[in-house]
């Protein structure tokens, strides 16, 4: 689709002529002319401007009063005079700042924003040097913890409504609101309930004063005492760009680093607050070697390396490896070469195994916002798997796109586990009327975004087939959400290290040795079963605990903030993860290199492959060699008694999050989601305690009735689903 011809208009800003497209905001127009207009409330990412702070007052030729520049758009022949040339505007701006500062406490030395505060900066540059206010200032109780991670100081609030606009118009959680009106307005949540939303932390970055601040950064550091390292979040497959703030060798906070194609400057609370797990008390600091039957003993690295090399060598080629999917490409490559080249093993548990065919429909995540129609397939809630993708979908909906969700809780209701079958129907133009209709609209649209969020077997190839049959062209994108942060990079590294695709070690025979890389893998029950069959198990883990009890050697692992390497996100974009702080032990890659030396596999020296650019570019699309064929869809779970249980993995889960106390409130409540019809049939309302289970044996959970959920289906977070089968009966307790 060709872009419509842009009409250029000439605007005069402070006597400088500038040509901009018609309709450009005046703030940008002035910037184009080299004039800075100060703002507080203006933020284009939050939707239309509101002109709440009046900081941007300017004189416009032909308008009698001063105008808020942020609410104006460029028109031909407009003459704007900012505070730099217009005494009237300067006076207005000065008065606005004096007015804003009326009730703003002068506690900058106390305030954590001090030094990086827009209000401080703008007052310094444009504001009055003293105040005529000699009455006592307004006071509130402070700070108010509006959630365990955010504290609110109402005295400092200047009511710019950035935070509430974010809550209403970007994350759409509608939990942070401005109550009352006029001078009594306050920012608040409902009834002292915590602000519990996946993106709540962003308001602390949006706040132009010190009113909303992260509690985890409270009185930790000053802007002139910190180092900011650009890195990439390694907690979900989106790979948001972040700044990691360190002081004295410790991570103090994570900020978003706007990559307009990936995250648009937003960051979820998991990425923002999970860094505290680096300082968890149960972190493993030295290698452990099994002594006798049940005990572990801390040993030096020399002994550990020797022991690992011995154990692996004795396995005689019968070696398997379990990846976490959080490793960097370099780490995964080192492990893969160790196993495939050094030991002759060929078995791996890969968290993600996407077919390379999806790369033929590669597009930046920002293409979702520009799509005309979005299709979301799969059982897993997008918000829980790759939260930023959900924000992009919301942005698309606000921009007028149609979002068709197909799944047990979707606008087109399908049974759980049927994404593969549905995709075949969509591609073939079959299925229910709704589905046929959606398929027709998908074919007609020129810009389509398909998001596949499920664990169906071979989802990558199926998704690519669907995309090919719908004729996705330029401007359209296919996004298959991997399960793990760097699952794609890990799989790639594994395949590049040897011939063939390897095999899945799920037989029954005894295994010579097993390498378990990282905590996510160690917590996987499949891996635990495999470990029972292995004569020798070498595990790396960040934390001590029961999850590595079956190992013979446990080496301390690193977090994504302690590594340097490449990660590949769900788009297929290779990004550079930088070491922000040193791990409290030997780096994992260093350890692998030493094991490699023992086994005769050269691993060192290694180099991060991704570019060191500020913003990694997306590689061009791959060529689709031949349109893949549809494999017959795996049969979905058969009918059973009671409700079919859909288990999803919540975003706020995993070994890291579990160790961060301030995120405990974000973890899924012990509740089961029920469809409206099912709940009514059983006389259950939201908030009731229900017994979930089969044949009388069950557990008590809280019920949450969802209108969108398909009848006959119940949904539950993985950590509360332990021991529940694929079908459950739900009764009111």
């Amino acid at each position: 689709m060709s872009a419509p011809a842009v009409e250029l208009v000439t605007v005069n800003v402070d006597g400088r002529e500038v040509q901009v497209p018609k309709g450009t905001g005046m703030i940008e127009t002035a910037l184009a002319a080299g004039v800075e207009i100060p703002v507080f409330c203006y933020e284009p990412r939050l939707g239309p401007p509101v002109g709440a702070c009046r900081m941007c007052l300017c004189e416009v030729e032909g308008m009698p009063k001063l105008q808020a520049a942020c609410t104006l758009t460029a028109q031909d022949g407009m003459e704007l005079r900012s505070a730099q040339t217009s005494a009237k505007a300067a006076e207005g701006q000065n008065a606005v700042l004096e007015f804003i500062l009326l009730n703003h406490p002068l506690d900058c030395p106390d305030c954590d924003k001090g030094g990086e505060c827009p209000l401080q900066d703008l007052t310094f540059r444009w504001g009055p040097s003293n105040t005529r206010m000699h009455f006592p200032k307004r006071t509130f109780e402070k700070p108010i913890p509006i959630s365990p991670t955010i504290s609110l100081d109402r005295e400092r609030c200047i009511l710019c409504y950035r935070c509430t606009r974010f809550s209403e118009g970007v994350s759409e959680d509608l939990q942070l609101v401005a109550a009352h009106r006029g001078a009594q307005s306050i920012i608040t949540t409902f009834e002292e309930e915590p602000y519990r939303a996946h993106f709540s932390g962003n308001v602390t970055e949006l706040c132009p004063v010190g009113a909303l601040l992260p509690s985890t950064y409270r009185f930790r550091a000053r802007p002139w005492e910190i180092d900011n390292t650009p890195t990439v979040c390694g907690l979900c497959p989106v790979g948001c760009n972040t700044w990691a703030t360190t002081r004295e060798g410790k991570v103090q906070r994570i900020l978003s680093r706007n990559h307009p194609e990936v995250d648009d400057g937003w960051l979820c609370d998991k990425g923002r607050f999970t860094f505290d797990h680096l300082r968890a008390e149960d972190r493993l600091r030295e290698p452990l070697v099994r002594v006798r039957r049940r005990g572990f003993e801390a040993v030096g690295y020399d002994d550990a390396v020797r022991e690992v090399a011995r154990g692996l060598r004795e396995a005689g080629g019968s070696v398997a490896i379990a990846f976490s999917g959080g490793e960097t490409v370099e780490q995964a490559s080192a492990l893969a070469r160790l196993v495939r080249q050094g030991l002759g093993g060929d078995a791996a548990i890969l968290p993600d195994d996407l077919d390379p065919a999806v790369d033929a429909f590669r597009a930046p995540l920002s293409a979702i916002r520009d799509a005309e129609i979005c299709l979301v397939l799969g059982d897993e809630p997008v918000m829980e798997r790759a939260p930023i993708v959900d924000l992009w979908l919301r942005a698309a909906r606000r921009a007028g796109a149609e979002v068709v969700t197909v799944g047990p809780a979707g606008s087109v209701s399908t049974p759980p586990g049927s994404a593969a079958a549905t995709s075949a129907e969509l591609a073939g133009g079959g299925g229910s009327d709704e589905l046929r209709d959606a398929g027709r609209r998908l074919r007609e649209a020129s810009r389509v975004a398909i998001v596949w969020s499920g664990d169906d077997h071979d989802s990558g190839r199926r998704a690519a087939t669907l995309a090919a049959s719908l004729g996705l062209g330029d401007g359209s994108g296919l996004y298959v959400l991997p399960r793990s942060p760097n699952g794609r990079g890990v799989a790639q590294a594994w395949y590049e290290a040897g011939e063939g695709r390897g095999f899945d070690p799920s037989g029954e025979e005894e295994l010579g040795a097993l390498i378990v890389s990282g905590d996510e893998a160690a917590y996987d029950p499949r891996v635990a079963q495999l470990a029972e069959r292995a004569r020798f198990v070498f595990a790396t883990s960040m934390f001590t605990g029961d999850h590595t009890l079956w190992a013979h050697v446990v080496a301390p692992g690193t977090s994504y903030l302690e590594r340097d390497g490449t990660v590949v996100n769900l788009e297929g974009r290779a990004q550079r993860q930088r070491r922000v702080v040193d791990p409290p032990h030997l780096d994992e890659l260093e350890l692998l290199a030493r094991v490699g030396t023992e086994l005769g596999v050269p691993i060192a020296p290694w180099a991060a492959e991704a570019t060191v650019d500020d913003h990694a570019e997306l590689a061009p699309r791959a060529q689709l060699e031949a349109p893949p064929e549809f494999a017959p869809a795996a049969s979905t779970n058969g009918a059973g008694p009671g409700l079919e249980l859909v288990v999803y993995r919540p975003l706020f889960s995993g070994p890291g999050v579990e160790r961060v106390e301030s995120l405990a409130f974000q973890r899924p409540a012990p509740e089961i989601e029920l469809a409206h019809a099912d709940a009514q049939a059983r006389g259950i309302a939201t908030g009731d305690t229900v017994t979930v289970g089969l044949n009388g044996s069950g557990r008590a959970l809280r019920a949450a009735v969802r209108r969108k959920l398909r009848p006959g289906v119940a949904r539950i977070a993985a950590e509360h689903a332990d021991g529940l089968g694929s079908h459950v009966e739900v009764t009111k307790a």
Binding site: L174, Q175, H180, R181, E193, T686
Partner: protein
């Protein structure tokens, strides 16, 4: 907003539970409903008395002596503006313009207007309401 009015009719005011119910019915969050309800003076977030007396204190009425009227009510009822009498009969509030500038000072009793009220009329109005007559029904 009509949903909030319905809830208010049922409870008499808008307790948190009412806001929760409205939110669930409309697929919104309680916080959003609270924000809307707190913006408008005619939604009550605290219990109110049987008679709600609103005295307009906006410009026209203020010029016609609204402050005196309000002070007279405060004296007569023994509560400050914004409060409710202990017996739960009267709630007194000072209000922004009620749209009756031509008949200042306007006093609304349960949203039924009384016009040209002066401080001298106040004891009469209160006695009338105490007597159980007057505007008892919701307008």
């Amino acid at each position: 907003m009509p949903a909030l009015h319905l809830a208010q009719d049922r409870y008499g005011w808008l307790p948190p539970e009412a806001l929760r119910e409205v939110a669930e019915a409309l697929d919104l969050t309680p916080a959003y409903c609270y924000a809307v309800a707190s913006f408008y003076d005619m939604y009550h977030l605290e219990p109110v008395g049987r008679y709600e007396i609103a005295v307009c204190t906006n410009v026209s009425c203020a010029l016609a002596g609204a402050q005196d009227v309000l002070a007279a009510f405060e004296r007569e009822l023994g509560v400050q503006a914004g409060g409710t009498t202990e017996d739960g009969e009267f709630s007194l509030s000072s209000f922004e313009c009620l749209g009756g500038c031509g008949w200042a000072t306007v006093v609304a009793v349960n949203w039924r207007y009384r016009e040209h009220v002066t401080a001298g009329d106040v004891p009469g109005i209160v006695a009338e309401l105490r007597g159980g007559e007057g505007a008892g029904d919701d307008a």
